[in-house]
Every structure is written in C-alpha cells, then in structure tokens.
C-alpha cells in the first residue's frame, strides 16, 4: 500500500476559542479537521475537568487535522494570532496517510 508523508497538527485550546480556531484553519486552506471534547487535565493554569461545568469558560477542546507538509507553515502562521495568550498546547507530529490527494 502506497503511504504518503503528512503532518498531524493537534491544538488543545479553550472551548470558547473554537470558532476562531476553525476560522484560522479555513483561512489556511484546511477544510478537513476533527474536534474532540477533552475530559480534563492539568497545566500551567492548574487542573480542570469538564464534569459538572455549565459554562464554556473552563472547558477545553482538541482540534486535530492532517495536512500535507508544504501547508504546515501557512497553518501555523494562521493559528498563532488565535493561540496568543490563550490556555492551550499545539503539537505537530510526523505521520503517514493513505490517499494523499485528500490532504
């Protein structure tokens, strides 16, 4: 099976920033992504959990996308102004995908 090199970008960010992250992804030409709820965790801003929370202020989400390596810089440049000052983590992982034309 033919595999192709790709980058997996994972953004864990405050739930209130969901719209802004999606807008940045679309600006960078990324149309395929997945949003996952995050149960809880701990970081520089302390420990948190989604359980029992009514408001979105203390919730986090994970936005994951797979892109061609050539598009990575444009995506990170579009994401940076959104992430600035907000609680969150961005990671980029080298990965392999099938059907490269889709990314």
């Amino acid at each position: 099976m033919q595999m192709h090199e790709a980058r997996r970008v994972e953004v864990i960010i405050e739930a209130v920033m969901e719209k802004q992250v999606i807008r940045a992804l679309k600006e960078a030409g990324v149309t395929g992504f997945t949003i996952l709820p995050v149960l809880g965790g701990s970081g520089r801003s302390g420990q948190w959990t989604r359980e029992g929370n009514v408001g979105r202020a203390s919730g986090m989400i994970a936005v994951i996308c797979l892109i061609a390596p050539a598009r990575l810089d444009a995506l990170l440049e579009a994401l940076f102004p959104v992430l600035n000052d907000h609680i969150g983590v961005v990671s980029v992982t080298e990965t392999s995908i099938l059907r490269a034309e889709r990314f």
């Binding site: 209130v16 801003s45 420990q47 359980e51 029992g52 009514v54 202020a57 203390s58």
Partner: protein, 326 residues
C-alpha cells in the same frame, strides 16, 4: 432584625441550600460525586426555560406597562456602573491584584448569576413574597453591559482587551440569554393558556431539579476552592463578601426608586449582589485571556455565590420587607 434571622434560619435549612452544602463538602472531602457535563448543562437549560416562561406568563397575567421598560433600563445602568465600584473596591482590598484581573473580576460583579436569581425566587415563593414577573427581563438585561465596562477598565488601565464580532456574539447570543429571553417572550405571548400546558413540566419538578443543580454547583464551587491555591488571599475573600453587600445596596436604592414590591426589591438586590459565572467568564476568556480565571471563578462561584445563597438572600429579603413595609 428578628425577621432577618428567622428568614436566614429557614433558608439555611431549606433543601436547596442543604444540597449546595452537600456538594461543597463532598468536593472539599475529595468525594468522587460528580455530574456529567451534559446533565449539568441539561439542568441549566431546564431552569432557564422554566424561570423565563414563568416570568413571561406572570407579565401576561398582570399586564406590562411603563414600569417594565424603566426597570430594564435601571438594570442596564446598574450593570454598567457596578463594575466601576467593584474595580475600585478590589484594588483597595487586594493590592496585589493586577489591573487585568481586577477588570475581569469587576465584569463578573456587574453582571448577574442566574442561579442566584433562581434560588432567590424559589426562597421568595417559600416565604410567600411575590415579585414582578418582568424581573426575568431585568436579569437578562443585566448580563452583558458589565462586560463593556470591564473591557473599558482594562483598556483604560493599559491591560489590553478586544471587542470584536466574536465577543459580541459571545455576549449577546450566548445560549443562556437566548433561552431565558426566548422562554420569557413565549410565556408572555401564550399567557395563562401556555402556562397550563407546560405547568406539569416546569412547576412541580422545578425545586427538585434546582436541588440537583445546586448540588452540582456545590461540587464545582468546592473543587474550585480546593484548587484555587494562592489566589484566595484575605483581601480577595473580603472583597467576595463585601462587594455583594455593596451591590445589594445599589439594587435596594434602584428598587425603592422604581417603587417595586418587597419581592421585586429583594430580587433587584439579589441581582445586583450576584456575580456571573457562566456568561462573563466565557466572554473574559475571549476578550481578556491574560486575566487569571482561577481568581474570578473562585470569587464568583466559591465565595460570593455561597455567601448570597446562605446569608445574602435572607438579608436582602428581610431588608426589602422592612423598607417597603411589604
């Protein structure tokens, strides 16, 4: 004074308060008692729907007049004004708090806590004190203006802050406001007939759901207090207790000037004394991300909310009765 103490005694032994205390103790004792997020949000939607609909039906029953518009306007003015007072008070009582944090906290204290409002209306009902149905609209009107004042304070102090379309959408179209106002107008439009149709769903189960919701609030508040760490200084605690009393005094003055009933004055005091922990924290995360969420969430939910629930509301009810002769 006896009346206030009697109300406070009754209040402390009501199921609503005892369930909140249970949640608080459970969280502080590190129990694994917890509510899934979806259930907590579901209960919140139910309470907003019920209180909005009942308020609208009450306005349809008693008729709307000029006083509704004036009360809403007074709520907007209070919401714009109270953050300025809160900002100054916090900077006096807790000198280590930054301009950014003080502005964010101030926004919470100008806005309102809808659950404190619901708890107050429930206790008023138990005490047989009626209030104007349009106070629901006043509560909705008081949610957002405080955010504008808070951001003005932050910008003036050089702490940044941004007001863009995303923020306005977050403020004006957040689910709580849309449901509360939507249910209010539907209740108003359908009146007595509509109330008869939905009463089995929103009247009898209301207190039970409120007890469960306050159990959840107690758990979240206790968890917040446990994790608050260094933010809870004596000055911060003093602010969390004094500011609601200051806000209530403004609400009392507004209620008396507006000529509200004793119940209406108590609700206006409660609204002015309460601090938001749903709408404003989300708006502050968008507009003032450098502000410390542990500070404003601990203050609003861990200190001021329990204070209002246990001692504040009976005090406001007693004072309102005493000063209106109601």
């Amino acid at each position: 004074m006896d009346q206030i103490l009697s109300l406070a005694g009754q209040n402390l032994l009501s199921p609503v308060i005892l369930f909140f205390a249970l949640g608080l103790v459970a969280a502080l004792a590190r129990s694994d008692l917890t509510f899934p997020e979806a259930i907590a949000k579901g209960m919140s939607l139910y309470l907003l729907f019920a209180i909005g609909f009942k308020g609208g039906a009450s306005v349809a029953d008693h008729g709307a007049d000029f006083s509704l518009g004036v009360a809403v306007l007074a709520g907007v003015v209070l919401s714009l004004l109270l953050p300025l007072v809160a900002f100054a008070l916090l900077r006096i009582l807790a000198r280590g708090v930054s301009v950014t944090d003080a502005a964010a906290v101030a926004g919470h204290y100008g806005s309102i806590s809808i659950v404190t409002f619901v708890a107050a209306t429930s206790l008023l009902g138990a005490a047989g004190m009626e209030f104007e149905g349009y106070m629901v609209a006043v509560a909705a009107a008081m949610e957002a203006p405080a955010i504008v004042s808070a951001l003005w304070l932050a910008m003036r102090g050089g702490a940044g802050g941004k007001m863009d379309s995303d923020l306005w959408r977050e403020i004006l179209l957040n689910g709580s406001i849309v449901l509360l106002l939507g249910a209010f107008f539907i209740g108003w439009a359908t009146g007595e007939r509509g109330m008869e149709e939905v009463a089995p769903f929103i009247v009898a189960p209301f207190k039970g759901v409120l007890c469960l919701f306050l159990l959840d609030m107690g758990i979240v508040a206790g968890r917040g207090l446990r994790q608050a760490g260094g933010v809870v200084t004596p000055g911060v605690v003093a602010f969390g207790v004094i500011m609601p009393l200051v806000g209530a005094a403004f609400g009392l003055a507004a209620g008396l000037v507006l000529g509200l009933s004793a119940g209406g004055v108590a609700v206006m005091m409660t609204l002015s004394a309460s601090a938001s922990y749903i709408a404003v924290p989300a708006a502050m995360r968008v507009a003032l991300p450098k502000a410390n969420p542990a500070l404003y969430l601990t203050l609003a939910l861990g200190i001021t909310f329990p204070f209002n629930l246990t001692l504040g509301i009976p005090l406001y009810m007693g004072l309102a009765q005493m000063l209106t002769g109601g």
